[in-house]
Amino acid sequence: MAAAMKRRRGTDPDPDPDPDSDPGPGPGPEPEREPERGCLRAWAAQSRAVVGRWTTARCGGETRRVCRQLRDELLELLRSIRGLPVALPALPLELTVLYNSLLFTVGASDSVIKGEAEGIRQGLLRVLEACGACGQDLGTEELWEKVLQEVTVEELQAPLRRLGALQAAWWLAASQLASVAGLFQLLSTAEDPGRAHCSEGQNKLLSLIKAWRVPPEGASLPLVQSAKDLKEILHTAAAFLQGLQELEAGNFPTALSLLQEAAGGFCSKNILAQIHTCLGCCAQRMGKPQTALQHLKQALQVDFQCLPALSHVAAVYHDLGEIDTGLQALTLLYEALGKSPPPAASSAPHFLMQTELLVHTPVLTSLLRRCHPSEVKYLLAQWCLQDGRVADAVEHYLDFLSLLQEGLQQQVPLDSSSALPRIPEVFLEAASALEQAGRHQDAITVCEEVISRTTDLIPRVLRVEERLEQPESSLPGAELAENLQAEVEVLQKIRFLSLIGRGTQFLEMGRNKEALLDFQHSLQISPGDPAAASYLVQALWELNRKQEAAAQWQKFSQSCPAEDGQQQGQGRPLPLYLVSCQEQAVFPHSETLARSIQDYLRAAAQDTPR
């Protein structure tokens, strides 16, 4: 039994003997003479093999899978290396393996870089350990400072600086620009004190990155992505990032020059299109629409899938008053949105580190916000209605409403950055368009729809005044009050327009007294309104109260012109759905009325001297 057990133990574990590997050196009388297969050489060979495999694999498909596989292999290798006491001769290799493994980690994840590169920290601590120092309790910035200032071993300089570029990438992704600048300052002064100085007007960070001399790449320690590439990517990303920051801060000329610098840098098509889009937006905000158009055009030339550029183009044309072109751009955008699915994750990264992974700020997200088809449809409708293209507007509104029928959640983006107003307003705009197109019955149907849907939501009594009087301590309260004020103004306007409307009806029906009452009420709401005043005069005239009519007319014609200009500027602009009502409320026979009153006055004047 004991023998059986012994055999079992003996035949033990190894299911896969490795026939390929070199046979180990046999025992000899003096084993020290044998050639020794050192760990260092084995690691270097493994590291080289990984880089070689990546170089052949990156041109083919499935790079991400290969990337993941190689990352795991390198991490395993790194674990092996770190499993041994740190040794100066092995450190360049260790740092290079760390550099490559971090790049693979970035390439395999395909999402923006986040958090801290813990591997770099460990690498730095190992370097310090090799030099007999320690820095466990230092922050990463201080750790870099200590390492770059105190470690003078010649062999470590190149790998350390390459690692520095990677650290910069991590910090750039976290928008820690000061840390990046500090690191590059250290990197430059470590190699060549006094070389990196920034001339006036140039961006400090960019000139620091530019001044950084990339350590030469040795054939014995190949890299999966050269530090030179990394430098270019960092430069582009830093310019882009700062450009966006300046754009957000409103420093447009600075933003423009930074973004232009970024556009001249090394980046992918995707990013170049984004930079041009941002340049376009910047130029537009500077009041240079033609420059903006050129940049947006370039964005689309570089990458037609950069649809946000197209929506900006439409907006620029609209602002320029070129409604036709703006509408065409919107139509194109609508078509493109319907066809192309949202861009899938980039398919095959030839580069592990990319600008895409470093630049992600809220400004960029909002500038590159992908319009929803329903928003584009609404804009089309709105612009048509504003421009008086009633028939087109009706079509677009109906399209939009049918989109709504398909389901609110799927069709309408509900985030705050959406261009859509509240849905009842869209209905009212549609009704207004229908009405203007002469489709009165349809307009009524739409309005009834709005009423039926919203009646339940309307409170019996609207206690606006009370709310306004409440002490407004917090900011949201004040904002609410402001909004309410605007709403109240709109409501007053609606009331005014309806009174005028009813008054004119009465006037036509010959019920002049009732008409007069309505016009008086409307004048109370909007004192000095020319239309209401004219109607009031007309009503008095019809009632044969000519003297009063003449007096009112004189009063109104003296105060009229000043009032007109004042009304435009204040409060919320007139809602689009009220524009046509406003136009209808204009008094039509002002000249006839004026003539008859002047005649009357003249006659009265001739009478009086007598």
């Binding site: 020794e36 674990r79 020059s257």
Partner: protein
């Protein structure tokens, strides 16, 4: 029975042996006189799931005035019978002398004293029991051993720092694997990665075969590097293959790693979850997986599984000991974990038997349970599924893209058909909405060339007074370059320009004409595009149409740039000849002659051009001047520029071989090219013409001139002027390393495609015009009539024509015009034509056709 700290556990053939040292129970016996060593054999009962005692035995040791301890126990081979037996090492300390003795336990539960020895020091470090039974230990960096055969303490001739393993190696008997300070041979190669582990880490492994008393190489176990970290080793297998020792082993290190080695190389690493691993034991479980049980100094344990890679499969805390054996009798091994338990003191009451597979027995008493097992494996599965999903999605997306593309193509074809039908039926064609001109203007080319219409080409009919601006000579390498700079106006009236050198002196024996090669070179005095400053003025809303008919643009020798170009139209005709034959004459004077065809008027009619030969001047060449370096070129690096006279640059360009490459990148910008030129190639632009940059890099490539013209951020043309093909390949090799992998580099044999396309368009237009005009020929003289109708010239005519086609009314107008012309031509059909005129016309048509055919051929080749 109480369980003391002194108790030892040993697994033996599926049983557990519990050794205990205690005072005898009978109190009447003299106190401190004897001690009892008892053993209990425990077996696991699968039904009750408990350990039950099978048998027991005891051995009493006389212990008067001495302290008795149990040092260790193990299973070793009894060399007399070959049977593996449990043995216990005992220590008896009596004042200054310490006696050690070894007891063998037989299956009858009887203890047999095997051997004993006395030492004047205590055994502390690296005590190992092995076959014999034998014992080895380390004391003061020395290795000692004793066996039952000899009963004499022997020492090994080695100075060591520790023993990591002792056991059987096939063919060697018992081998001790130890670590000692490296003894470095003098002949170490210190550079590169060939530095040995011993040199770096300063210690090494050695194997010592006890029976044969010889040393084995440590590298067949592990690389020497690991001698700095390994604390314990378990050799799993050793075999000899073609006399080579092949060993598989597992080691644990001070750096808290478990490393698997095969044939001396690490094959897998795993980070251990706790600090200070103490021992490692492999187990072959029922699922044929290799499992390593690792115990730690802190009382924790973990199991590491070896599948694709090494992974921590489970971990436990408060473990007293871990044993590996077939406890349940299933034919494979399991782990037995004995937990520390203060509340329950019964032997083997809190335990767990597991193989991390099917087998899992635990004592009913709950204990602090392990941390979830095999998290990593599950995560892997999840990742795989996610990756598969992504791939599926990507596939689906590409299929959809293809479908959309097809749909789009179909639409375009349909639309074109409709347009064609409309055109044929003379119906107005209505373009679809989205493609009307407001948006089309977005796609216009950006190029903003100076209006070439305004530039009148002079109609010089005779050789002007100052047709040559300069005559110069340079020596480049073994070549002599003679250059003649021509004024642009003169050059434009010429074709087939060449130079020849004729010796002035009369050497009767040789021909005075020197064989040379002519080249026409034009340099743009261009400045690199300035960065657009933010304060730049808004461009006008409408952009100028690109004029394709400007003759000058197409004749350019170098690819045009889209940035502002300051045109300097001067051309240089250079003759390159071998210098050395001329030097044979010591002093030689040459006449420089310019040959060309001079054109009458502004057409390309070869029939009406006449051959001219013009004397440009004389050059004097003497060996002395050349020795003094009078004609050699001087290219100096001045800050960020290269200074060299225009003649120097032209001379270098003339002797160089020229290659143009179109570089297209499909997904990223081409900035690496310019950083490669300015960085790695150490190029600087010429002060005189900044388009061209000069390579200062030392070595073969020095003196190469590059011209890098970006058409857009993703496409550009790199022109290389190099001395020879070797230099070209060197440059290209260097370039391909910096280019993004998705780039394609193509040799442009005959101009860029865009230029050729434009040329083709012009040639075809000319062909059509020639054909058309030949039909209108009445009495008008050929040569004068190559104009459109009666209008003044084609330049004035074509621009409105182009704009006519932009609008619908324009097209209608054009159609009417064409109709009218058609009628005219029908009328002219009836007319007679004289023979000579016909001949000329036919020739002209043939010429035009030939020229367009040529361009088509070149385009097809490129």
């Amino acid at each position: 029975m109480l369980l003391g700290e002194q108790d030892q556990f040993l697994s033996y053939n599926g049983e557990i042996l519990v050794f205990q040292l205690s005072k005898p129970k009978h109190a009447e016996e003299a106190d401190d006189k004897t001690m009892n060593l008892s053993v209990r054999r425990m077996v696991f009962n699968r039904d009750t799931k408990l350990f039950v005692q099978k048998s027991s035995g005891a051995f009493s040791v006389e212990a008067s005035h001495s302290k008795i301890e149990m040092l260790s126990c193990s299973c070793t081979t009894d060399s007399r019978t070959g049977i593996i037996l449990p043995c216990v090492l005992m220590k008896k300390k009596k004042r200054n002398s310490i006696k050690y003795f070894l007891l063998l336990l037989h299956s009858s539960n009887q203890f047999e004293p095997s051997f004993y020895f006395k030492l004047d020091y205590e055994l502390k470090e690296d005590i190992r029991l092995f076959a014999g039974p034998s014992l080895l230990w380390r004391h003061d960096h020395k290795l000692f051993y004793i066996s039952s055969n000899t009963c004499v303490v022997q020492s090994a001739p080695v100075h060591l720092s520790c023993v990591v393993w002792t056991g059987e190696i096939v063919g060697e008997g018992t081998v001790v694997l130890g670590i000692r300070t490296a003894c470095l041979p003098e002949t170490e190669d210190p550079d590169g990665f060939s530095v040995s582990d011993r040199a770096i880490w300063g210690s090494e492994f050695f194997g010592y075969a006890i029976q044969s008393q010889k040393f084995l190489s440590g590298t067949c176990f592990m690389p020497h590097a690991y001698s700095r970290v390994v604390s314990s080793v378990h050799v799993c297998r050793s075999e000899r293959l073609r006399k080579q020792l092949r060993i598989s082993l597992v080691a644990i290190t001070h750096k808290n790693q478990l490393v698997w080695f095969q044939n001396g190389a690490p094959k897998g690493v795993c980070d251990l979850p706790y600090e200070q691993p103490r021992s490692v034991t492999p187990a072959l479980t029922s699922s044929r997986d290799l499992l390593f049980a690792v115990s730690f100094a802190s009382g924790n344990s973990c199991a590491v599984q070896r599948r694709d890679s090494l992974q921590v499969a489970s971990k436990w805390q408060k473990v007293k000991c871990v044993l590996v054996d077939d406890f349940i009798g299933s034919g494979s091994e399991q782990l037995l974990l004995l937990f520390k338990d203060d509340s329950n003191t019964d032997v083997l009451s809190t335990f767990k038997i597991t193989d991390l597979g099917e087998v899992d027995y635990a004592s009913s008493i709950t204990y602090k349970h392990d941390v979830p097992a095999a998290e990593g494996l599950q995560e892997n599965g999840l990742l795989t599924v996610r990756a598969l999903e992504t791939r599926l999605q990507a596939g689906w997306t590409s299929v959809r893209e293809l479908q959309q593309h097809l749909a789009l193509q179909k639409r375009v074809i349909l639309e074109s058909c409709r347009a064609l039908i409309d055109l044929v039926e003379e119906r107005p064609h209505i373009l679809p909405n989205s493609k009307e001109e407001g948006l089309v203007s977005l796609w216009d080319d950006e190029e903003n060339l100076p209006d070439s219409l305004s530039k009148e080409t002079p109609s010089a009919s005779e050789v002007p007074e100052h047709f040559t601006e300069e005559l110069w000579q340079r020596v480049v390498g073994d070549s002599l370059v003679v250059g003649v700079k021509l004024t642009e106006s003169f050059y434009l009236s010429l074709s087939d320009v060449s130079l020849s050198l004729v010796m002035d002196q009369d050497f009767s024996s040789i021909s005075p004409i020197i064989k040379c090669q002519s080249k026409i070179i034009k340099l743009n005095k261009a400045f690199s595009a300035l960065a657009v400053s933010p304060g730049q003025i808004e461009p006008p809303p409408k952009k100028m149409k690109l004029d394709l008919h400007g003759k000058n643009d197409l004749r350019k020798e170098f690819p045009k740039r889209s940035s502002r170009i300051q045109l300097d139209g001067a051309r240089t005709v250079a003759a390159v000849t071998s210098l050395s034959p001329l030097l044979a004459f010591h002093r030689v004077c040459c006449v420089v002659l310019l040959h060309a065809r001079k054109q009458n008027h502004q057409n390309d009619d070869l029939q009406h051009s006449k051959k001219i030969t013009v004397l440009c001047g004389k050059i004097l060449l003497s060996l002395e001047d050349i020795s003094n370096g009078r004609y050699s070129i001087k290219m100096l690096r001045d800050n960020s520029y290269c200074t060299g006279s225009m003649e120097d640059i032209l001379a270098v360009l003339a002797v160089s071989v020229r290659f143009s490459f179109q570089i297209v990148s499909c997904d990223c910008t081409l900035t690496p090219v310019s950083s490669w030129l300015l960085g790695e190639m150490e190029c600087t632009p010429f002060k005189e013409c900044q388009d061209n940059i000069f390579c200062h890099k030392a070595g073969n490539v020095h003196g190469t001139i590059f011209n890098w013209a970006l058409n857009n951020p993703f496409e550009g043309v790199l022109t290389i002027f190099c001395r020879n093909l070797t230099v070209l390949f060197q440059c290209l090799h260097s370039l391909t390393r910096v280019l993004p992998p998705s780039c394609s580099v193509k040799l442009l044999r005959s101009g860029s495609k865009a230029v050729l396309t434009e040329q083709l368009a012009l040639a075809l237009e000319k062909e059509v015009l020639t054909l058309k005009n030949s039909l209108f020929l009445k009495e008008t003289k050929a040569g004068n009539s190559l104009t459109w109708g009666d209008e003044s010239g084609k330049k004035n005519n074509n621009a409105p024509l182009a704009s006519l086609l932009d609008t619908e009314e324009g097209v209608q107008q054009f159609r009417k015009k064409l109709q009218k012309e058609r009628e005219e031509s029908v009328q002219s059909m009836n007319q007679t034509l004289n023979g000579a005129l016909y001949q000329k016309t036919a020739l002209k048509i043939a010429e035009a056709q030939l020229s367009s055919d040529m361009i088509v051929w070149r385009l097809a080749k490129s």
